[in-house]
Symmetry: C2
């Protein structure tokens, strides 16, 4: 999102670190995706950012929700969201949570193993299950295969097994990897999905659902395919490979692409030092307080307030805790004159940031989270207090 | 710590995951360290585990405390701990926190850069500062150099600078790396410390403090030097290199070695599956809910209840969230017959586990933490409830 005048002012006046959320970006992301993929039922992946304001806005837009746990399900039900609009997309579920979800009206469950099928059959008889295909994710920043999904032949066996166990083999899901750069991955995946549809149709099992997962990227430091381009690939692939399926339903599970560009993290330089030949810059935000994805060298755009066009050199950027794993980037280009108290922004950090944060690691609390509207109120209040102080001095 | 009958019973009856703490181990660890290093003033590194019961017990034993932040300082002061027994050992401090610490009576501050000296001079004039030497930590499981500490010559310059700025150059600290296996590292470090003492004495600056940091290891899967062996090396090195210093004070900052072996994590298998040629086991505890140190492949002893002596094979062990980084070990030996609902213990997990945990990542809450005494009460209550249920059925 844009670094507005308000955010820049807030970073100077308010205590850092904080994360600003602009919900208008979420709304725009929702409609861009909706308009890019035909007949697309969007299930927002709650784990990307479970802030209530985001969930409420998406609920009011008519969005559905993909949940990872009973905790998320409870949060969604508590917001009055229809259980018919909730999927239980984690392939690793506790039995009591499956039962809880089913008893509360949730119908869609992800599977990628025989044992999970058995657990669902015992606790949610008649539920609709979709098998998850594993994809190689060389083109993604945050790979998701290995732990999740399995090969096409195995998915076919699992869905046949689900059928025998009295469940409804409903469809196939995949995930191209979070923050995926290659739009053609979706075509490859849909081709694999169609093989499952075909093989099962031969056995008289007619699937209805292709679940596109997530993976649509957010703009950081590399060029990305736009959602419209990805949608074009998806639409074509679905026509080509799954055009023959009657009443096909198309789910997607965007997380990052729904909220990533709706956030900016504002932090301050606490210390700059030189050790040997290396320059170190330490911030009041770090890996264990909101920037967890940087442990895999996930690259955010980093902006130093007022020094955007200054000459840069390679430095090490680290967080405030007594832990060396709390090093954000071993090497990152920063302004040569970056200094104590400079404001440092991490752009497009609305997804997978605060969610990971420990509430008290090293006794340090995570960044505050403000919507733009809340920020306006806070800045106004802080400015008034400053004025009053000045008046008292004069 | 030992897997007692009580813990095994609790894991069968209570909801997992949970972490059990046996405070008697903390007491024993305290006295073993106290008796191993002569004149040793122990500053417990609160960040290892900030549970109040641990802090209260150590307070009552006469222990001092090393804090990483204002949050930790507030917690310690709130427990009635004398500020004279608190150090501010983070080399990355906010100015307002330095001022807060100083105004609340804290005297000892760590430094490893000129800028930090300036911040302390502005906010805590007259404070005692100790310069941190960086050590190579090839022999440690969790390295701490690079981000913290600097070379001997730089520490000398920094302490001279502190002297010019009106601070008290008080001593030198180091950290051999967390979970260090080589006892001779301490000797090497103390030799480096003595060089700083000597060089500054030549300039009329007489240091008083050697701060040994932490790094004393906890027994996991590799043999470790005992604290008495490390103490022997330290005592000899101090006599040899710093025997000439009048009124020398010796601080240590144990975190892991004070609480690591006082904890056991109990979890359950949620899913077992085979993908391609690899066996996967998924637990209800994972990287983002207490086992963060495994991201650097930190190895805990893993015990599967009742299958301790079964044949093992290499499997992948993963946590319950929809995140592939939540994979505990890519390869670990587990019983061939490990199965759904088996209880899996992670031994000696009292340090640096719950502290990292996100309160709601993927909607999953972190493990509950119980002391042995609390566990006894809970198990008794759960057993009574079970009996009542049985009586009703009969």
């Amino acid at each position: 999102m844009e670094l507005t005048h308000l955010i820049r002012k807030a970073a100077r006046i308010l205590k850092t670190p904080f994360l600003v959320l602009d919900l208008s970006y979420v709304e725009e992301n929702y409609f861009r995706l909706k308009n890019s993929i035909e007949n697309n039922e969007i299930f927002y992946a709650v784990k990307a950012n479970s802030h209530e304001k985001i969930l409420e806005m998406l609920r009011d837009l008519g969005c559905s929700f993909d949940s990872a746990s009973r905790g998320e399900i409870n949060k969604l039900l508590g917001l009055g969201i229809d259980p018919k609009k909730i999927s239980f997309g984690n392939t690793i579920k506790k039995e009591e949570d499956i039962r809880y979800a089913w008893e509360n009206g949730i119908e869609y469950f992800a599977v990628d193993s025989e044992m999970e099928v058995e657990k669902i059959a015992r606790n949610a008889p008649g539920a609709k299950v979709y098998g998850r295909i594993a994809m190689s994710s060389n083109d993604a920043d945050w790979p998701l295969s290995g732990k999740f999904g399995t090969d096409v032949d195995h998915v076919i066996e699992i869905l046949k097994y689900a059928n025998r166990k009295g469940l409804v083999p409903y469809g196939v899901s995949f995930h191209v990897g979070s923050q995926s750069y290659n739009k053609h991955k979706w075509k490859e995946a849909i081709l694999s999905v169609s093989k499952v549809f075909e093989k099962l149709a031969e056995k008289g099992i007619y699937l209805k659902l292709v679940n596109l997962g997530g993976g649509i990227p957010v703009k950081h430091v590399k060029p990305i395919p736009e959602v419209e381009e990805i949608g074009h690939v998806v639409n074509e692939a679905i026509h080509e490979y799954l055009g023959w399926v009657d009443g096909l339903r198309i789910f997607s599970e965007p997380g990052r692409s729904m909220v990533g560009n709706a956030g900016v993290m504002a932090s301050k330089v606490v210390l700059r030092s030189r050790k040997g030949t290396q320059d170190w810059v330490y911030l009041d935000v770090g890996v264990f307080h909101g920037l967890m994805e940087t442990i895999e060298n996930f690259r955010y755009e980093v902006v130093v307030d007022g020094k955007e066009n200054h000459e840069t050199v390679s430095m090490t950027l680290a967080g405030p805790s007594c832990d060396s794993v709390d090093t954000i980037y071993d090497e990152v280009e920063l302004p040569v004159d970056i200094d104590y108290q400079d404001i440092v922004y991490f752009i497009n950090t609305g997804a997978y940031t605060i969610e990971y944060a420990s509430p008290h690691f090293n006794g340090i609390t995570p960044p505050e989270l403000y919507t733009v509207e809340e920020l306006e109120v806070l800045v106004e209040k802080a400015e008034e207090e400053l004025k009053e102080k000045e008046n008292k001095v004069n």
